[in-house]
Symmetry: none
Subunit: 128 residues, 2 copies
DNA sequence: GTGGAGTTGTAAAACTTTTGTAAAAACCAC
DNA sequence: GTGGTTTTTACAAAAGTTTTACAACTCCAC
């Protein structure tokens, strides 16, 4: 097992300066430290990371990770996001953004974080 | 090729700092001490060791060692894992990991256990 | 700016599922 | 039958997930 081929844009793996997600082995590392995630936590992270940069509405997350149809009112998603952020440690703020009224977005790590600092980017994508 | 090939990666044998499994003679040693295993115990250990480092789902273990199709609900596997661990003594924790909701994994001995220390590694493999 | 409705964050409890364990029962070869 | 092995049973313990209850925050109308 030699080094890794720059897999940065491989569909099987996500990598940036601090985070490394292996979609095949279904595991993740933060600064070369293994992230111990439960199934739901991993599923949630993976879905967000696979769509890095894109806003994923709550209802989509709830559907894809939990199989919940809309209409279901629950705080489970929030609780899981919280636990994920906790495990991501200090980078969590930068990685997982909350898009008020819509959902969440995973943002790849950027050393120079001057631009989209906290900017929820064009709000609205869904009609909710 | 040629040359000594320390049996470490021979398909007929597994060896690490403390454990030695001879797949031909179907016997195992722990710190040069013979492990007295019953048939099922050996089969289970062998299957895990042959796939060292990989997670083996419960249903695969039950199929390969017991011939059970899925759908069969039994605690036999757990009982055998327990007896195996008991016989492996103090190393058992390090060797046989439980992957919650999925199965078990045999992990080769590592002197420097800094990395995956007790880390159940990313769970998840199946969707349920 | 303020206020309020609605949304998200958080901690802890409740709940569900999975795994560990001990002991007894069932098996099996001799 | 006896001794050893394997499976079942019945719980206990652990891990994971969801709910609850409320605090904190955001956005928009005014």
């Amino acid at each position: 097992m030699g080094l890794v081929q720059t897999a940065s844009n491989s569909p099987y793996r996500y990598q940036d300066a601090h985070l490394d997600v292996d979609f095949v082995r279904k595991c993740a590392l933060v600064d070369s430290h293994r992230l111990v995630l439960t199934r739901k936590e991993y599923d949630l992270l993976a879905l967000l990371v696979e769509n890095a940069g894109e806003i994923i509405p709550r209802n989509v997350l709830l559907l894809r990770v939990w199989g919940y149809s809309s209409e279901i009112r629950t705080r489970t998603l929030d609780v899981h996001v919280r636990r994920l952020r906790k495990k991501l440690g200090s980078y969590s703020e930068q990685y997982i953004e909350t898009i008020f009224g819509i959902g969440y977005r995973f943002q790849p790590f950027r050393a120079n974080q001057r631009f989209q600092t906290g900017v929820p980017t064009s709000p609205l994508a869904a009609s909710a």
